[in-house]
């Protein structure tokens, strides 16, 4: 009786102590995480970062990603007026042509949204702002000579001797001594299908379709494919290059790692030193990492998709070698014994005893890497200069083509998701549908 009692109390004490210990550990982990995050908060100088955030940059980026602006520009020295989309040479309207909201002539009338109207006269620029008043300017060598309505100048007007800038919801007018410029904003990605020099620009889908059936399909395709604003052919090539890098890198690595994996597996290579050597080679290939391989290889081969493929190939040969050798070590020997009992030679034993067992494992690992390497190939392309990664970095560096950045990001996401589904589909198809693996 007494022994049972003491046992009970002992057990209770042990349990209570155990729970207390667990609770302490739980609180300890939470406390450690909080301490670490506090340290990071100061180490990364988060308050400074937050105060440095450039709200204007972010606004421009977001606005530009879904809208575009058309510039109407007047050269104040000779009075000539030109219209171009995003102010780019590639988006310029031909001489004497303009969109419907601009009336060219001796006096150019530009209609903005909400009934705003800017008039470029022969001498004078006039902008009658509803709810505020008439603003005029006579830019010349002595300044912009702006006349504003009486009273305090509002914050959205920036006026000085040599410069006048007015920003309203309807658009933007800026005047300097040499140049007058009006921006009008529109949503959408302009010139996505056809540039202004194409006869198909501005036609609706049905008009383009009916023309393509009447024998113009080739010309329509050529104009779309050669669109030098959005560069569709370059983009498709770039995506192809990125996928090619992933494909070559992954499967090349798998082909090299297969025989090496046997050399690193205990049950296939009895010689310890060879095994040890192979494993260290795998560790080295993985440890050097894709980044450094990319740097080394791009010095030798220059930028391009082959460099990217080889960088992926080298890193993944290390990863695959390690995984494959582990898979070989975990095989079931009974199958090999069974094959051997029928008098099979060593090569036949591998072919029928080992390969069918490991194929599903290896294939699923390879296909998993194919998907993740599509992402790596994008990243490597951004560093070494190839594929969609290069286009993305180029577009970001200009700091103004955010609609192109958005377009590339959407394409990258679609590409990765498609590769993900493809690799999943192949995995199911090859592994479940054919369990023998051959």
């Amino acid at each position: 009786m007494t022994t049972a009692d003491t046992n009970m109390t002992d057990m209770m004490q042990v349990t209570v102590a155990g729970m207390r210990r667990k609770r302490m550990v739980g609180f300890g982990i939470v406390a450690a995480v909080l301490v670490y995050l506090t340290y990071i908060f100061f180490a990364f100088d988060i308050p400074e970062v937050i105060s440095d955030i450039d709200g204007d940059d972010a606004r421009i980026l977001v606005a530009d990603s879904y809208s575009y602006k058309t510039h109407v520009t007047r050269d104040n020295r000779d009075g000539s007026v030109g219209v171009s989309i995003e102010g780019e040479r590639k988006g310029r309207y031909p001489e004497g042509e303009a969109p419907s909201w601009v009336t060219l002539g001796e006096t150019t009338v530009i209609q903005l949204e909400d009934g705003h109207e800017v008039i470029f006269g022969p001498e004078e620029i006039r902008y009658d702002i509803p709810g505020y008043g008439l603003v005029t300017a006579r830019p010349g060598s002595d300044g912009v000579n702006a006349t504003l309505p009486a009273g305090e100048v509002p914050a959205w007007i920036n006026a000085s001797k040599n410069r006048l800038a007015i920003t309203t919801d309807a658009g933007r007018l800026s005047i300097t001594r040499n140049r007058t410029e009006v921006f009008r904003y529109f949503s959408g990605w302009e010139l996505f299908f056809f540039t202004l020099d194409s006869p198909y620009h501005g036609l609706g889908l049905s008009a383009v379709l009916s023309r393509s059936f009447s024998g113009e399909a080739g010309a329509i395709w050529a104009d779309f494919w050669g669109n030098d604003m959005w560069r569709h052919s370059d983009v498709v090539w770039a995506i192809g290059e990125t996928i090619l890098m992933a494909f070559l890198g992954t499967f090349g690595a798998a082909i090299i790692a297969l025989p090496l994996g046997f050399l690193a597996a205990k049950n296939f290579t009895p010689l310890g030193p060879i095994r040890f050597g192979m494993r260290r080679i795998f560790d080295f290939l993985r440890g050097v990492d894709g980044l450094i391989w990319t740097i080394i290889l791009s010095r030798a081969f220059g930028p391009g998709p082959m460099t990217g493929s080889l960088a992926i190939l080298l890193t993944d040969t290390g990863s695959f070698g390690k995984m494959f050798s582990e898979a070989f070590e975990n095989i079931d020997n009974k199958q090999i014994e069974g094959i051997a009992s029928t008098g099979a030679k060593p090569l036949q034993r591998y072919r029928f005893g080992v390969i069918p067992q490991v194929t599903p494992v290896l294939l699923s690992q390879i296909l998993y890497y194919l998907e993740s390497n599509t992402r790596s190939a994008t990243i490597i392309g951004a560093i070494t200069g190839g594929g969609i990664g290069l286009l993305l970095t180029q577009a970001i560096i200009t700091q103004k083509d955010w609609e192109e950045v958005t377009y590339y990001i959407i394409l990258i996401i679609i590409m990765v998701m498609l590769m993900d589904s493809l690799s999943g589909w192949l995995r199911r198809k090859l592994i479940k549908g054919d369990e023998g693996g051959h």
């Binding site: 499967f251 894709g290 082959m306 970095t393 990258i412």
Partner: protein
């Protein structure tokens, strides 16, 4: 042939149809293999054609850059310890980026995965929404988010941290929800019977069951994130990758410093690899970690 003896009692028509099937199967595999090889070779040729330099001429130069680096580092070997300690703080920053993004991304992944697992989700109707969210986060290569964030908030560790954390939340969330699906529901019912609310049920009923598996995947992710954080540094997001780019683009004269950075990066990656695989091994075999 051995086959003939065993099939002597089976009707010849069965044998021949079996052999025909085998032949068809072999032919299919042969065709598949041929297509695969053609794809591989033509793919390589296309890649080579679109590359700045060709494969064979470049092959002889592969060792040129490493030997430049090694020879310069060897000449100035006396300074190596100095360089190692000079770049050690950057290494710490790279590791910190990886650690904090794994931590934050992992915590987000736990919440996302609990919302995205059928049978556990608080709002069962929203399960597909959370799944798609995780797919989307996973599909973003870190560099995309990092480059855009560098434009908005400037260089430094924070853009890299956010970019890696977002990707980690998606990647780990998917793995965690697969783990959650295999959790026992008994503890949940017990907790529900004593009136626990949803977050208490998850925290006390599910998380303790799956914590070792979570930890194991998170460690694997930490390994990957160290590499990612070095790469993002290379495009301007701070840490040792940034120093690496500066020393390499400087060219000869700073290769000794580049060598020191290579060494730091290599040793770190190998150490974390070894450490995490040891810990993961212990976790999967149910042994205590420490």
């Amino acid at each position: 042939m051995a086959l003939a003896e065993t099939t002597s009692e089976i009707s010849p028509s069965a044998t021949s149809s079996y052999m025909a099937m085998i032949r068809r199967k072999r032919m299919m595999s042969g065709i598949m293999l041929a297509i695969f090889v053609v794809l591989l070779i033509s793919g390589f040729l296309v890649a080579q054609e679109r590359n700045a330099g060709d494969f064979l001429p470049g092959l002889s130069n592969v060792l040129g850059f490493p030997s430049d680096v090694v020879s310069e580092a060897w000449e100035n070997r006396a300074q190596l310890p100095g360089f190692l300690s000079k770049y050690f703080p950057s290494l710490i920053e790279t590791i910190n980026i990886a650690a904090v993004s794994t931590l934050v991304g992992g915590l987000a992944a736990i919440v996302l995965s609990l919302f995205a697992t059928r049978g556990l989700a608080k709002f069962p109707r929203l399960v597909p929404v959370f799944r798609r969210t995780m797919d989307l986060l996973r599909a973003f290569p870190e560099i995309v988010i990092a480059l855009v964030l560098i434009f908005i908030i400037g260089g430094g560790p924070v853009p890299a941290m956010i970019a890696i954390a977002l990707h980690t939340a998606g990647a780990l969330g998917k793995l965690f929800s697969e783990i959650n699906e295999n959790a026992h529901l008994g503890p949940l019912e017990g907790l529900e019977s004593v009136g626990a609310n949803w977050s208490q049920r998850m925290l006390l009923g599910i998380v303790p069951q799956v914590a070792p598996n979570y930890l194991s995947y998170a460690l694997l992710r930490f390994e990957i994130n160290i590499r990612a954080s070095a790469i993002l540094g290379f495009v301007g997001a701070g840490g040792i990758g940034y120093d690496l780019r500066n020393t390499i683009t400087f060219g000869m004269g700073k290769f000794d410093e580049a060598a020191a950075i290579f060494i730091l990066l290599f040793v770190t990656i190998v150490l974390v690899d070894q450490l995490s695989s040891t810990v993961r091994d212990r976790l999967t075999h149910g042994k205590p970690v420490l």
